[in-house]
Structure formats: C-alpha cells, structure tokens
C-alpha cells in the first residue's frame, strides 16, 4: 500500500465452540448430519419452550478470554437481537450485547519479524443461525427459492471483536492465523475457516497518513480462508484508495467478497438502518462467574504457545525456526518433550519429528497421537544412531517400518539384519570389492581427483545395504588406495 493513506482494519470473528450439545438445548452440534435431524422445539423457536445455558460453552469462552488476556466481566447478560431472516426461526438471535462475557484483551502477532499487539474489544457468546441452500444459484443473489436446514441453529458461537488496530490486509491474515492456532491450542474450537468453524468479517477504512480521525468504513463479508481474508481486504483497500483519489466518497455498506474475481461487491438491500430492538432475554438469567470457577478454568488452560516457545528455547536451546514448527502443533510438542525424557538430545529429536515423522503424518493425514510410534520407540531408534549401532539411513527405514507395521524396533532390526557392520574384516572385504569393480573412479582418485572418494563411499554404502558407517568406509578406502 502506498504511503498516501493509512489502512485501518478491525475484525469480528466467530468461533464455533467445541461442545457436544447446542448453546441453549440438548441437540447435537455435529457437522454434516442429514438436514434437520439435530433440531428440537427450543432451537426452532416453538412457543412456550425454555432455553438453558450450556455450562461448557461458558467455560470454553472464559478459557479463551483468559488466553486472550481479557477481563472476565462479573456479570454478563444474554439479550434478544430481533430481525427477520429465514435461517432464524425465533425471529431473534440470542446474543450478549451490553454486557458481554469478557472485555479488553490483546493478541500478539508477528508480521515480517515485527511483533505487535492487536487489542481485543470484547468476547461474547451467541447462537448460530441455520444454513441456507439457494436454489438455482450459487449465492443468495439470483436464487428463486432457498432451502433451510436448522441443524446449525443454536450451535454455540463465540464472537471475538478486535480494536481497529490492524493496519494492513497481511496483518489481518496473520491475526486470523494466530487466533486459529491459539484456539486450536487451547482446545476450544477446531477453527477451520473452510468448514466455517472459524469465520470473520472485517471493517476497513482508509484515512490520509497522519490523520487520527477514522475514515468511512465498509464491512467485508464472505471470507472463507486465510487467503480470502488477504485478497478481499487487498481488493477493498484498493477500491477505497481509487474512490478517494478521484475525490469520491465511500458509502458505508456491507460488501461481499467474490472469491472468483477477487473483488468485493456491494450487497444492495432494501433494508433500512438496522433496528434490532435488543432487550434482555427474560428466559436466561445472568452469568456471574465467581473467582473460584475462573481459577478452576485457568488451571485447565495449560501452557500457552508463547510461553511454551520461550521455555523450549531456554530449556532445549532449539533454534527459533525449529521451535516455531514444533510449537505449532501441541501434540507434536508434547511428543517431543516425552521423548526428551528418554533420550536427552533435544535437537536431534526435534529434527526427526518435524522432518521424517511430520512428512509421514502429512502424507497419511494423521496426528502424532494416532500412529504406532511412541516416544519410547523413537528414543530407542535415535539411541541406536547415537551409539553407532545403525546409520541414519537405516534409522529412517526402521522408523517407516514402525510407522507402517507397528512392530518393535528390536524385531525389525533382527528380521532385516540392520545393525551397522562392526566387524572391520567384513567391511574391508566390501571395500576391496568396490575398488575392484570401479577401476575408472579409482584411477581418477589416484590421479588427484579427491572428490571421487565420495562416489566410492556411496558404493560401499550400497554394497553393505546401508549398514556401513560412512566415515569408517572412507577411512578404509583411503587406506586401501593410499
């Protein structure tokens, strides 16, 4: 972005909380069920029903609030927000309005090596709406009729609102990535943007550089991936700049991101200014978490990514790059620490986890707690490399065999005769064969081309099926050719 304007962005994010049942009734929250199978009189707004707050939803939101450095409010109140829409069977959404669950926190993000804090205005709880399927069109515009599935109606949502502290589309994307990681890390939300369990809308405005008053904002919706957040806000930022450069005025409106053309489109609506007529939901009494309850929740929080990263750096002296990859998956980080307890070579362990093991996990779409490798088995394999019993190459084969078959390390070694050649006589014989079979390379080496030695070492490794120790092979080759 050119320096003439400063971009100001605030985000409203919605995270679906990991509960078994809905916010105010006992229906399942399961994603992908047959339409209208997870519904009941409460979530479809039948007359005379009585909603009851899901305790777990409150606890997960409090957990998030603590992780986001927010203040938990002494009292929060649910309100009715009235509007008509087919996905909202009650004709009002239950949400927290004047008295949210938590306020005033921050999230630290790092963009291009620079750390900064993004303020969190508030966190509140609400219920999700149903899902619309538009007939005869990919979108609502142009659809003749729509179909409504109320399975999602009443699923607990946590809304996290940021301060207008974000200064570029890239920062907005990084904020969402950081938030996703954090929510997954503390186990409150699976936070998949593509599946809609983490969503975001953005308010964007431009102002002349140096100006403190905010410009007119537009709200951008329909950003269903991190890339979409970046592309949508870049497009909207550019559009604002063009309008302002031509001396035009930005119209305050809601705009829809078209991810195919990567532009934003104004959503023409006959709706006049919103008038939601909020009032306290009479069927739900206030939530007043006491100190003891908050402390109990705090104790379930565990170590947050930032603190863990710092501790890993201090305790295990891991390089920043390795540390970051390891911490990005809590399960891998735990696996790492458990392995270190058996075998105190942190860097070696970390490299295996983020290298060959991570590659296997990606390929098989599994997490590290779903495979037959255990910290005990990994440490056993690595100890064998460390004491010279096997080579790194063989270790990799053993690792893949353990992952594939679940056999014990000792069984694999016995079955395949994989231990490193410790008998020098056997190795001398292989070296002799390699020299005999490669006269051309031997001549080149003798005429002074020293690098050819690596080719010959390779031949020894091949002939020994990887059981030779490379430096020992080289030593014996040089001796024989010397």
């Amino acid at each position: 972005m050119h320096s003439k304007y400063e971009t100001v962005i605030g985000l409203e994010t919605h995270a679906q909380l990991l509960t078994e049942s809905k916010m105010f009734c006992s229906c399942s929250t399961k994603f992908g069920s047959k339409p209208n199978t997870n519904i009941c009189p409460v979530c479809t707004g039948q007359p005379g029903v009585l909603p009851v707050i899901n305790k777990k939803a409150i606890e997960l939101a409090i957990k998030t609030a603590i992780a986001l450095n927010c203040r938990i409010e002494k009292m929060s109140v649910f309100a009715r927000k009235h509007y008509f829409y087919p996905d909202l069977p009650k004709d009002f959404q239950v949400s927290q309005y004047e008295l949210p669950l938590a306020t005033g926190g921050f999230v630290e993000i790092e963009v291009e090596g620079k750390k900064q804090k993004i303020g969190i205005t508030r966190i509140h709880l609400e219920e999700d709406a149903g899902k619309l399927v538009h007939k005869g069109a990919a979108r609502i515009m142009g659809a003749g009729e729509s179909l409504v599935d109320y399975n999602r109606t009443g699923v607990p949502l946590m809304e996290i609102v940021t301060e207008p502290d974000i200064r570029s589309p890239l920062e907005a994307k990084v904020f969402m990535e950081t938030l996703q990681h954090l929510l997954q890390f503390i186990g409150v939300c699976d936070a998949k943007m593509e599946e809609g369990s983490l969503r975001c809308d953005a308010n964007l405005s431009l102002r002349p550089a140096g100006e403190t008053k905010l410009g007119t904002k537009t709200e951008v919706k329909n950003m269903n991936s991190f890339r979409a957040v970046l592309k949508a806000l870049e497009a909207e930022e550019k559009r604002h700049a063009e309008v302002l450069n031509e001396g035009g005025k930005i119209l305050q409106e809601t705009r829809f991101f078209d991810d195919i053309n990567e532009t934003t489109i104004g959503m023409r609506s006959k709706e006049f200014a919103h008038d939601y007529r909020y009032f306290p939901e009479p069927d739900l009494v206030p939530v007043e978490p006491d100190h003891q309850w908050i402390e109990t929740i705090k104790n379930t929080l565990g170590e947050l990514p930032e603190a863990k990263s710092e501790r890993f750096f201090n305790e295990y002296s891991l390089a920043a790059g390795i540390n970051k990859i390891l911490i990005s998956d809590k399960l891998k980080a735990d696996f790492f620490e458990r392995t270190v307890k058996h075998f105190n070579k942190p860097e070696m362990i970390a490299n295996w986890i983020i290298g060959d093991i991570a590659a296997y996990l990606n390929e098989n779409k599994k997490s590290i707690n779903e495979i037959s490798l255990t910290p005990e088995k990994l440490s056993e394999i690595l100890k064998l490399i460390d004491n010279g019993t096997i080579t790194g190459k063989i270790a990799k084969n053993i690792l893949l065999e353990v992952l594939g078959t679940g056999k014990t390390v000792q069984d694999i070694i016995k079955e395949q005769g994989l231990t490193q050649i410790s008998d020098e006589g056997e190795l001398v014989k292989i070296v002799g064969d390699v020299i005999k079979n490669n006269p051309k390379q031997v001549d080149e080496f003798k005429s002074g081309k020293d690098t050819v030695i690596m080719f010959l070492v390779g031949q020894v490794m091949k002939a020994s099926k990887g059981r030779a120790k490379p430096d020992k092979a080289q030593e014996l080759l040089r001796k024989a050719l010397g």
């Binding site: 229906c27 707050i53 659809a143 179909l147 409504v148 008038d275 009494v285």
Partner: protein, 92 residues
Amino acid sequence: MKIDVEHIARLARLGLSDEEKKLYGEQLSRILEYAETLNKLPTENIAPTTHAIPMKNVLREDRMVPFPDIEAIMINAPQEESNMFLVPRIME
C-alpha cells in the same frame, strides 16, 4: 407521546391501513404513557437489573439428548424439499 407507527409496523412486517395506523398509534402511546409512571419512582440508589428474579448461573451440563419427534417440527413447514424448509426468494 408521539410514536412512529409506520416504522414499528415495518419492523414487525405488518401492513396497516390508515385507520389501523391511527388506532394503534393512540393505543401504543397510551401504553407507553402508562409505563412512564415508573419514572416517578426514586431509583437513584438502586443498581440496574435485567431480570425480575434474583437468580444467576442457571446452567446445564453439556450432554446431547436427541429430540424424539422431529416430524412434529417438520410438519410446520409450509413447503418441504429434501427434508428442508422451502422458503421464497430472500433478496430482491
């Protein structure tokens, strides 16, 4: 008390005739005037409340219990297709 009956009717998606607007305007004004009498009470030293009953933290455990008679809900759909509620065009 002056009331914007048209605005309120629009919020409730009600089409009112001129007579109805007049009638409801007067009635709503009277209701609000009656509620105004509450303002005569001295409330300076009373903390605002959102509910009439002194209760808090009425919560349930997170347990899933399927509703046994979904058909009784679906029967309310004026039109149904693929087990979903069919609704007319939403956006103009």
